[in-house]
């Protein structure tokens, strides 16, 4: 199995543990020590703040700050890498696509300009039409390639135009990653419950957190089950693309049995919830009060909010 090192179980196990750590191991995370309501409100606030800036520089500084926060929240390095990869390729995409679209448009335009003559020739049955078509297409491709090669600057300009947009998106993504991976599910649902979010939803979040590791295990087992009964493509192709395509197909197929198995599990869970008095808790103010007691806004919460606002104000004024 050496030649698929990136996909061996060892690394899968590592990734699993890293993601688990992100989601569940938040004892030392900075944001987890704050009052959950404050963190939730702060998050909403900072979903908006980046949109008030237009220059790349303050946005870049803000992004750096967001990364510091993510580091303090022990966000999975795999998740961050995935996020960055997504954003960078998105930006890179523009450098390729803008000239390409320009070239294609140019070539199509050229074909359009000359199509009239070809149609005329075809109607009169002139055999020279084939030669004409050939020369028109060649010329069109030439024009297109020329445009694509020479319009790099247009592409870069386009990127320049979208960079602030991507920066804003990235800041928001990193902040929400940091917040949701730093706060323990209990705290999160506690905070939301106190803010008036219905109990059904807060429970669903907590339950989702509880089930996720099981689902990951089950999904992995199902993929393994598929692998042991499938055949790998004999020719793996360039960069083993056939092999990876095969793995991709399996990983999509495995969702189907996964959903069935989950549905089966939930039957028992629903019964158990009933015996544990879940439906009683829905309209029960005492239960809600007990669940949300012990939350307190302290100096550190206030200073965190004001500190970050001051930081943003400083960016506004000085940059």
């Amino acid at each position: 199995m050496k030649y698929v090192d990136a996909f061996t179980d060892i690394s899968v196990a590592d990734v699993k543990v890293d993601l688990m750590r992100t989601a569940y191991d938040n004892d030392r995370a900075f944001l987890n020590s704050l009052d959950p309501r404050v963190v939730l409100l702060w998050t909403v606030l900072f979903m908006i703040v980046p949109w008030l800036f237009y220059d790349p520089l303050p946005l870049a500084v803000m992004l750096a700050a967001a990364f510091v926060l993510a580091a303090l929240s022990q966000v999975s390095k795999y998740l961050l890498a995935l996020l960055l990869f997504g954003q960078v390729t998105n930006v890179g995409f523009f450098i390729v696509v803008v000239p390409l679209v320009g070239g294609v448009a140019r070539a199509l335009g050229y074909v359009g300009d000359n199509a009239g003559g070809v149609a005329e020739a075809a109607r009169t049955g002139d055999l020279g039409v084939f030669a004409d078509v050939f020369s028109i297409v060649t010329a069109a491709v030439g024009e297109g390639v020329h445009t694509a090669m020479t319009s790099q600057e247009v592409g870069i300009d386009a990127v320049g135009a979208v960079i602030p947009f991507f920066l804003k998106l990235t800041i928001i993504s990193v902040i929400s990653l940091a917040v949701f991976s730093a706060m323990s599910p209990q705290k999160l649902s506690k905070g939301m419950l106190r803010l008036g979010v219905p109990r059904q939803l807060t429970f669903a979040i907590a339950y989702g957190y509880r089930m996720m590791p099981l689902l990951v295990e089950e999904y992995h087992a199902l993929i393994n089950s598929f692998r042991l009964r499938s055949k790998v493509p004999e020719k793996t192709g360039v960069l083993k693309w056939r092999y990876f395509y095969y793995l991709l197909k399996l990983s999509i197929k495995a969702f189907y049995p996964l959903i069935f198995n989950v549905a089966k599990r939930s039957r028992v869970t629903v019964e158990a919830m009933e015996t544990k008095g879940f439906s009683h808790s829905l309209g029960n103010p005492e239960s809600r009060a007990l669940r949300t007691e012990g939350m307190m806004v302290r100096t550190r919460d206030v200073s965190f909010v004001f500190g970050s606002l001051l930081f943003v104000a400083a960016l506004w004024v000085f940059l």
């Binding site: 199995m1 050496k2 698929v4 061996t8 179980d9 060892i10 196990a13 543990v17 688990m20 750590r21 569940y24 191991d25 599910p185 209990q186 907590a206 339950y207 957190y209 509880r210 590791p213 099981l214 089950e218 087992a221 199902l222 393994n224 089950s225 598929f226 692998r227 042991l228 009964r229 499938s230 055949k231 790998v232 197929k253 495995a254 049995p257 069935f260 198995n261 089966k264 599990r265 939930s266 028992v268 869970t269 019964e271 158990a272 919830m273 009933e274 015996t275 544990k276 008095g277 879940f278 439906s279 009683h280 808790s281 029960n284 103010p285 005492e286 239960s287 009060a289 007990l290 669940r291």
Partner: protein, 603 residues
Amino acid sequence: MSHNSIVVEDLTFRYPGGDEPVLRDANLTIEPGEFTAVVGGNGSGKTTLCKTFNGLIPHFFEGTFDGSVTVAGTDTRESDVAELSKTVGYVFQDFENQLVQETVRDDVEFAPLNHGLEDYAERATRALETVGLDHLDDRFVWELSGGQQHLVALAGVLAMDPDFVFVDEPAAQLDPHNARETYEQLRRLHEAEDKTIIVIEHHSEFIADYCEEMVLVSDGGVAWKEPVEVGLNRLEDLLAHDIHPPQVTGIADDLPADTGTLPDGRYPVTVEEATTAFPSATPPETRPAADGGAATARGDADAGVASTGDRDALVTLAEVGHGYPTLREGYNRVLDGLDLELYRGDRVALVGANGAGKSTLLRLITGLESPDDGTVTVLGRDTSETLPEQLADDTVYIHQNPEEMFVEDTVRKDVAYYLENRDASDVDERVDEILEYLDLEHLADRDGRLMSLGQQRRASLGIGLATDPTVVLLDEPTGSLDLQSRREVTGMLRKAESRVETVVVASHDLQLVAGWADRVIVMGAGEVLADAPPVEVFADPDLLAATGLRQPQVVELSERVGVDPPALTADAMVETLSGTTESDALADGGVGGEPSSGGRDER
């Protein structure tokens, strides 16, 4: 009729959409302070009956409900599930899905919080202390072992301080060691906390050891309720419902009349009772001869193992080390410097405590995981250099949880999946053949996930055999099966042997191991602790105890009554004992040590 009892009167219940009532005129009274086992065959309605106690029926499953169920004076129809659950706690068979919060303490506090009880924290603490889990209260539930999860579910029930604790098949999903721990726990609750305990149980040996009363559910009705010693002696009733009496009771029944009974005329139900009831196998003066016989037997066994050296190893593990990263405890090394060779024709049983690395070992052989250190060679191929898909040409791994093997929506498609993926020529014929071979034809068009566990096991073996393997790896094939299904699995293993060269079974089920394997590998501390024929392994109680296993009753009994080497199956024991009984008569006539060795020869 006591005010605090559960009373079921003339209860008839039909699930919505069902044609037949599941319960018919059931009548039952459970008094406070009982420790009661509910038994019955698959589909007899015992779980349905028990779900009426806490109101899941008729409040959650709304069917046709006639008659009445009264819990501590309250008619269940006039209350609701949450309210009734304060009196009747329910631990589900599928307890893992009963845990709905992510940490232990949160889950135990869940019910008291839902009811808005201010002392929820103290309640949780008390419940966790009762089951001995207070040191784990901040753990994530999925990081716990099966046994611990079961205790969390139990603690979650105890947090509401119910009078009745109802546990659905505790031994089904737990290994024997943990199942026994759970029963010890239930006994403590019963004795120290005065709880009334009700269990659904297939394993009559647990019933004999722990329960006081026994209820047989048959065809939707309650056939009888008797004290355990009496109930377990109604062998015909039990066998008619696929419930196997304890091994010792079965042996007593097979012995000639007048032997093997207790003074009051009934058969023994525990090893303890059997020791007094059964004739001693070896008169003390013949002891040396018996030991000599044992030595010979062991000598044979050693010779058997030695002769395997001439054969080619199909699977070789050399200095294998392997482990996993974990969230809380860092890298957990499961196997460490393990050496093992498996040969053609081996019937290998892997035994060991939970976490001893049995499943890891099997997965290494499939190539799904490559060892961190050392090499694993399967049929001449190094698993680190070979894709699991390629190794699967010759080996098959049958998952502990059959559900993970069902990837299609019918059994037929599942069995055919491998063949079709490999462009086999005569897929339909081969699938038909396998389905017929394992008696799966009538299930062929059903979804595997919706069948009973016994049927699922059979189907998963069918999926495995369709690959025409050389090496079959089975992970816990008898886990959570009732005894009838377990016998079927043993039968299947025998059938499978005629088609494959080596079968490796990881199992906690020592009765299966005793009756089937010819080579037992005991795993512990990351390596092989013992590799010997079953007789030797079972004769070493220290080794078994160290690995969290327990001797089968028949082996324990052999020791107590002096059968040496120990009998491994009930039949062998019956032969030995009846041989001895006859020879005892002879011995009275004056012949000394001869007869007992005669008895042994019969084996």
